[in-house]
Symmetry: C2
Subunit: 210 residues, 2 copies
DNA sequence: TCCCGTGGCAAACAGTTGTTTACTGAATCC
DNA sequence: GGATTCAGTAAACAACTGTTTGCCACGGGA
């Protein structure tokens, strides 16, 4: 396995990356049931099966590991958002597709989503800031996509950006709602999220048209 | 001071309540810079100036203390929400008043707001559930107020409830945005929040009217 | 082939943690 | 006013924490 990294990086760096990833994976798993500021370095190395001191070969802090986890977690989300934004369809249809995409993402990467929701306002400054910065980039991207749609003609940049912010916040809210939901509650959550988006989209179409 | 508690409770219980409150206050202060799951019992008692074992006279756990903090924190928010809902005015005006009320609340009780935002998705199950339950009650209350307005005629209960949920989520988002904002950013945040509410209100007025 | 760079290790460090124990002294009850 | 309840104490417990030190083994360039 991973013969490609073997070829391009050499055994040495490949091994290093491997244990680094193992540390990230172990941390992410442990973070399902606690928050970053209470996660110990020894706890992580113990799960990986590596000496405590080895941790420092990869991260200075747990905070630094946290920031790395932010990139990993929001990276996958970023891909999903791009995919949704790329589809140009009828407004009614794109809503259901979006909600479905979010639900699928949460089902596929629950630990990532939980981590972001938990640490977005968590106790580690560096991680909070990393998440905020990344979500702001999402907002900009959504804003750009919205501005390109015909519905947004005559809108100020500021108004487009505030709508984008509303969408991004709603996305995060919906994702974390899916997280804590039992399978039979999922339908109801998707339903509510869809109606909320429809209401927002309705407000959008009438924005300063009256 | 507090002669009333003296009179009704006796010196004994009054003293107990006093140190209990001191524990809550100390914890809330410490939680400005870390999250509950990393807050130690000794840390709290040390600030209060009391022996570690004294903690157990008031709480079984840090989790139990956390639940008590939820009641305290959301209690004050509850008062504010009721006040806003009580005013029956023109839609345009109530929006600005609401945003102003939220801003004032955050300025007055920053630690409470931070605690709720942080622990809503935090690492302590009992606290998460307490917050979720309380926010759901807020949602019900908002829904009842919305249903009583003429704009909501012909709306299903479910639709009213989803709109209420949107408002509550938006309130929490806005509050935590105010939290991290520098004084000069406050205006911009209030502005954006106001516009978002206006757009939602616009969508509300056109809901299934077309 | 030899040598350097380096990822990982074992051990020891001083601090800290939650929890239990037996206790004291003052408010309360009868 | 004597007995009792009980909030708070001091001390000890084993278990854990992050960090430093010197060391080894081995991959990669010369």
């Amino acid at each position: 396995m991973s013969s490609s990294t073997h070829a391009t990086l050499g055994v040495r760096q490949a091994q290093k990356l491997k244990t680094r990833q193992a540390l990230l994976d172990a941390a992410l798993r442990l973070l399902e049931e606690q928050s970053l500021s209470s996660l110990g370095l020894r706890e992580v190395t113990r799960v990986v099966g590596v000496a405590p001191a080895a941790f420092y070969r990869h991260f200075r802090d747990m905070a630094e590991l946290g920031v790395a986890l932010v990139e990993e977690s929001l990276g996958s989300l970023h891909v999903m958002i791009r995919a949704v934004l790329a589809e140009q369809q009828e407004a009614e249809e794109v809503i259901d597709r979006s909600v479905e995409a979010v639900a699928g993402h949460v089902r596929r990467h629950p630990a990532h989503v939980r981590f972001v929701a938990r640490e977005r306002h968590g106790g580690v400054r560096a991680v909070r800031e990393a998440i905020a910065a990344e979500l702001e980039r999402f907002g900009d991207e959504v804003a750009a996509a919205l501005a390109a749609q015909e519905v947004s003609q005559g809108w100020s940049d500021e108004d487009v950006r505030m709508l984008a912010g509303l969408y991004v916040d709603h996305l995060v809210m919906t994702a974390s709602a899916f997280l804590e939901a039992s399978p039979e509650e999922e339908r109801a959550i998707a339903d509510t999220a869809g109606r909320q988006l429809r209401l927002i989209s309705l407000g959008r179409r009438h924005w300063r048209a009256a």
